[in-house]
């Protein structure tokens, strides 16, 4: 039903390259940790004209979610979760139209300590596992819980620097079988300038001995921003 046009598959012309560079120069810029610029492709701030039910889901220890207004203006996503000793993880799933990005930034706050990590799924069955919060740079390289101080905190991931594992590459994952394959030690074949990420799973893990167990708690998301580092933005 779909046809390919192989004669176009290697089409990178000088004009196209020039145009791509111009695009990068024009595009809105996000700042990476090292201060270089990136082209923002997606930034969700929960404006009134978006229906978040189309792209937000929660599962496991999460009870549900809603979009709320800040007293001083602005909107945010509030996830309510009730972790239990046998159910420590809550999932927040962000569905995307398949998108290329290699930088992720999310601004969050929690009213109880919680570990944060995540996975990006592409539309070919590959999973890209993110370093947990802390290990990705914020906590001096150690996994630490998101501070429960009522302040917004950023979690930033850059591919491939902040990935811990990629699984499933090159294989169609059977819906009946989990564990699509061993982690791929060789990432050299992965083209981080040309991904099609279709969902991001945020893992919210309550510490096993947390006093929050059995109590409803909130984790808020102010925005999610997905961008491509300028150097990787376009072929």
């Amino acid at each position: 039903m779909t046809s390919r046009h192989p004669f176009r598959s290697l089409r990178i012309t000088p004009l196209g390259a020039v145009f791509s560079v111009l695009l990068v120069a024009e595009a809105p810029m996000a700042r990476g940790e090292d201060g270089d610029s990136a082209r923002v492709a997606y930034r969700e701030t929960f404006p009134a004209f978006h229906n978040p039910h189309r792209f937000i889901r929660t599962a496991a220890a999460a009870d549900g979610w809603e979009v709320l207004e800040e007293p001083g203006g602005g909107r945010f996503l509030r996830v309510t979760l009730t972790p239990q000793a046998d159910r420590l993880r809550a999932l927040v799933i962000w569905d995307l139209a398949p998108l290329q990005f290699n930088r992720l930034a999310v601004r969050m706050r929690s009213d109880a300590p919680i570990f944060l990590s995540g996975v990006g799924n592409d539309r070919f069955g590959n999973a890209y596992f993110f370093k947990p919060y802390g290990e990705a740079g914020e906590g001096g390289g150690k996994r630490v819980p998101l501070p429960a101080n009522g302040q917004w905190t950023d979690y930033r991931i850059e591919f491939p620097r902040d990935l811990v594992k990629i699984t499933g590459r090159g294989r169609e994952v059977s819906p009946f079988v989990f564990g699509s394959g061993e982690a791929l030690a060789d990432w050299e074949g992965v083209d981080f300038t040309n991904l099609g990420i279709k969902a991001i799973f945020f893992h919210l893990d309550t510490p096993a001995k947390s006093p929050s167990l059995g109590r409803p708690m909130h984790v808020d998301f102010q925005f999610l921003e997905l961008s491509s580092a300028a150097a990787l933005a376009s072929p």
């Binding site: 176009r8 012309t13 004209f49 799933i93 139209a97 996975v119 994952v173 009946f176 989990f178 040309n194």
Partner: protein, 766 residues
């Protein structure tokens, strides 16, 4: 497929793995189904040639893995963007030309991350005949950003005098509202770039509304991040018959904090007659009927990730689709597309029907590649649905070549296969006795069986009300076909069987204890009555109950009668608004529950991913059931009763155009069935055609038996293709006699009329 990451992704303590197994399984099964369909399609689809003045252009950006859209430079001063889709798919778009000549189109692809290709020329297009350019509609414009708004003067074709918009912040949305004054049919929104001042919007999307006060709905095919500089060319955004009272250009963000955007002009082209015209009703009704059809009938302004409306699209862009190429959908597909003049969708259906096997025993396979649905179990509805689809399609289009078309593998004609499909019901399944009985242990309806129809969570089987209801309907439609072909003896045989089937249906499936039909009776004699609204709605729509039985069913559905033991009663039965819950009694009440849990992936206990009310087949709802619900009400409780039910649907449509697939607490977005692999959602607006107007094909022609609600003085369908010609058909309370003039047919709003293939209208006593 929307896949879980891997098992490492889940802490075993979450208990969430099986939930995601279900999610992946269901999506995976759908992909499998489509694969099986494809196995039967060994040749490319034979799509119809475009109309004169139109050209089909094809683009494919095979290198990108993200979604892309294409911007066509048509070579005549226009840029025409497409919807988004997978880069490797072949993106076709039909574009009209308004002047003769030879043009050199070229496309650029734009990835959602901002990747933009260079221009790719394609073969030149020669336009010998032109399309009629739709006229520009008068509009008023209002620009707004940061809470401030500005009215703009904008006669069609004139340049707007303004300085453009500078939002207060980089991520502050800004808007240009285009007020059309009243709901009108819109074909194109043309944005003209300015030659100086601020640039053309870099990122924008289009929304529509009944009125400029909103609520606003996204036109999902018109979402253009990183739109390339149009370089002075007008940007023509196709809206394909959208009925709107207002449009809105939304610029969700700009490139820099001080950046802005402007347009030199905005033209809205359209004003043609809406396809569906409910007379005397509120403006919103006109928009609801037409946009329900646009979104879920022909799925014209949807995102199709394979650039093909016969394939599904994943969250978050899932929407309407035309049909699924499996036999399970053929009869519904025929209802949806047989009456369409544009040939692409009818041709596609015909090809699938031709290729779908009816095996040596006479069983109609689920798809070209398998006798079993999803390779899992036989669905014994396929014979009725195959025969019904063939008969309906022929009786509408009257193209004998369709019946004579041959299965490319066996050489057997479609007509022969349809007749054998009927024979299988009559013989192998025992239909001549008045009751189909499904054979084999796998289909015996017991807890060990595998399910036998669309509702495959439930273990329908053996003596199955759902299958027998479709059998009853197939007898009616096939009798009409046989009579139309001159085989009156066969027609009479089939018609004579219907009272027997109806009696057997009521004798076997009516449950006097609950005042409704049970779902099935298994081989051990156990009746499974879980308050299946879809079974009962179908039974009423097909005319199976008597008046008293129908009244009992409707009293139960409307909540004025409570059935003891039900979990959903009263107003809760229609809690979803757009359709009744699939069942009113939780599957857990079965001992054991008569359901297929897919090896435990489905958990029906409270808190489980398929708990009552949290899954489409167990207390959730599927939109298409409303089509049968409306027909049942029309038949037994009258047009006004059906209209009140439609009001409930309209109320939900007004919220979000039913673009919803909410997830349950387990993250499964299978609570309701409206979008994605539910093209049968388009049956609901088809009720305008075969319910309000009462258009139903019969042997001697097209029956017109209007059933207008009291507050609707007339109803018109402006393009109904019947017997080789497109008709405009109106039922009018003021008309005393039927009237035909050219392609326009008007009949009184009461009585039953027959439009013959020769174009005459006579009173019918059918």
């Amino acid at each position: 497929m929307n896949m879980p990451a891997t098992e490492e992704d889940f802490d075993r303590r979450t208990g969430c793995v099986s939930a995601w197994s279900l999610w992946g399984s269901m999506r995976g099964l759908f992909a499998l189904l489509m694969t099986l369909v494809l196995i039967g399609l060994s040749a490319p689809c034979l799509l119809a040639s475009p109309k004169p003045g139109m050209a089909t252009l094809t683009a494919s950006e095979a290198t990108r893995k993200e979604m892309v859209y294409y911007v066509w430079n048509t070579g005549d001063g226009r840029l025409v963007p497409t919807a988004q889709g997978f880069a490797e798919a072949s993106a076709k778009i039909e574009i009209p030309w308004f002047e003769k000549g030879r043009f050199s189109p070229a496309w650029r692809s734009v990835g959602l991350s901002g990747f933009t290709s260079d221009s790719q020329p394609v073969r030149a297009v020669t336009i010998a005949e032109t399309s009629a350019r739709p006229p520009a509609l008068p509009v008023t414009l209002t620009a707004s950003a940061g809470g401030k708004s500005q009215s703009l003067s904008a006669n069609p074709g004139e340049t707007i005098v303004w300085d453009g918009l500078r939002p207060g912040g980089e991520w502050e949305p800004s808007f240009l509202v285009v007020d059309l004054g009243k709901p009108q049919t819109v074909e194109w929104l043309v944005l003209r770039p300015a030659t100086d001042g601020l640039p053309f919007p870099r990122h924008f999307l289009i929304e529509s509304a009944v009125a400029p006060t909103g609520p606003w709905y996204p036109v999902v095919s018109a979402n253009f991040p990183f739109f390339p500089d149009p370089a002075g060319l007008d940007v023509w955004i196709p809206l394909r018959g959208l009925v709107a009272g207002a449009l809105r250009v939304v610029v969700p963000w700009v490139d820099a904090p001080a950046a802005g955007w402007t347009l030199a002009g905005v033209d809205v082209l359209g004003s043609g007659e809406p396809l569906l015209q409910p007379g005397g009703t509120a403006a919103g009704d006109l928009a609801t009927w037409n946009n329900l059809w646009l979104n879920f009938g022909v799925a014209a302004n949807e995102v199709h990730q394979k650039f093909d409306p016969w394939w599904e699209t994943d969250r978050p862009l899932d929407g309407g689709m035309v049909c699924i190429g499996s036999c399970e959908w053929f009869a519904w597909g025929a209802l949806k597309v047989s009456w369409l003049e544009a040939e692409a969708n009818p041709d596609r259906l015909e090809e699938l029907i031709a290729r779908n096997p009816v095996d040596a025993e006479g069983f109609a396979w689920a798809s070209g590649g398998s006798d079993k649905h999803l390779g899992h179990s036989r669905h014994f509805t396929t014979n009725a649905l195959y025969a019904t689809a063939v008969a309906h399609h022929y009786l509408v289009r009257r193209d004998r070549a369709f019946l004579d078309a041959k299965d490319p593998k066996t050489g057997e004609t479609i007509l022969s296969k349809a007749r054998r499909a009927m024979d299988y019901q009559l013989g192998t399944l025992g239909g001549r006795s008045g009751l189909l009985t499904l054979p084999g242990k796998e289909h015996d309806g017991t807890p060990e069986s595998a399910g036998t129809n669309y509702w495959d969570f439930w273990l329908f089987g053996y003596e199955c009300a759902y299958t027998n209801a479709f059998f009853y309907e197939s007898l009616r439609v096939m009798a009409e076909l046989e009579e139309a072909l001159g085989d009156t003896a066969r027609a009479e045989e089939l018609r004579a069987l219907r009272p027997k089937v109806r009696a057997a249906f009521n004798d076997k499936f009516w449950n006097p204890a609950t005042g409704r039909y049970t779902g099935w009776i298994d081989a051990a004699g156990v009746s499974h009555d879980f308050g299946f609204t879809f079974v009962n709605a179908m039974a009423l729509a097909f005319g199976l109950p008597d008046e008293a039985q129908a009244a009992e069913v409707l009293a139960w559905l409307d909540g004025t009668r409570t059935v003891e033991g039900d979990d959903s009663t009263g107003a809760d039965i229609y809690a979803f608004g757009f359709a009744p819950r699939a069942n009113t009694r939780d599957a857990r009440h079965g001992t054991p529950p008569p359901v297929n849990t897919w090896n435990g992936a489905l958990k029906i206990e409270p808190g489980g991913n398929s708990a009552f009310g949290k899954m489409i087949q167990n207390g959730g709802a599927i939109f298409y059931v409303s089509y049968y619900d409306l027909h049942g009400r029309r038949r037994y409780a009258g047009a006004d009763n059906a209209a009140r039910r439609f009001d409930g649907i309209q109320e939900e449509f007004a919220k979000d155009q039913l673009r919803r697939d909410p997830a349950n607490a387990n993250g499964n977005s299978d609570v309701v069935g409206i979008l994605r692999e539910f093209p049968e959602s388009g049956l609901v607006p088809y009720y305008f055609v075969d319910g309000l107007l009462g258009l139903r094909p019969a042997a001697r022609g097209m029956l017109i038996a209007p059933a207008l609600p009291t507050d609707m003085p007339s109803a018109t369908v402006s393009d109904f293709y019947f017997s080789g010609k497109s008709w405009e058909i109106t039922a009018d309370r003021t008309a005393k006699q039927p009237h035909v003039e050219g392609r326009d047919v008007t009949v009184p709003a009461s009585g039953t009329w027959l439009l013959t293939p020769e174009g005459q209208v006579v009173e019918s006593h059918d």
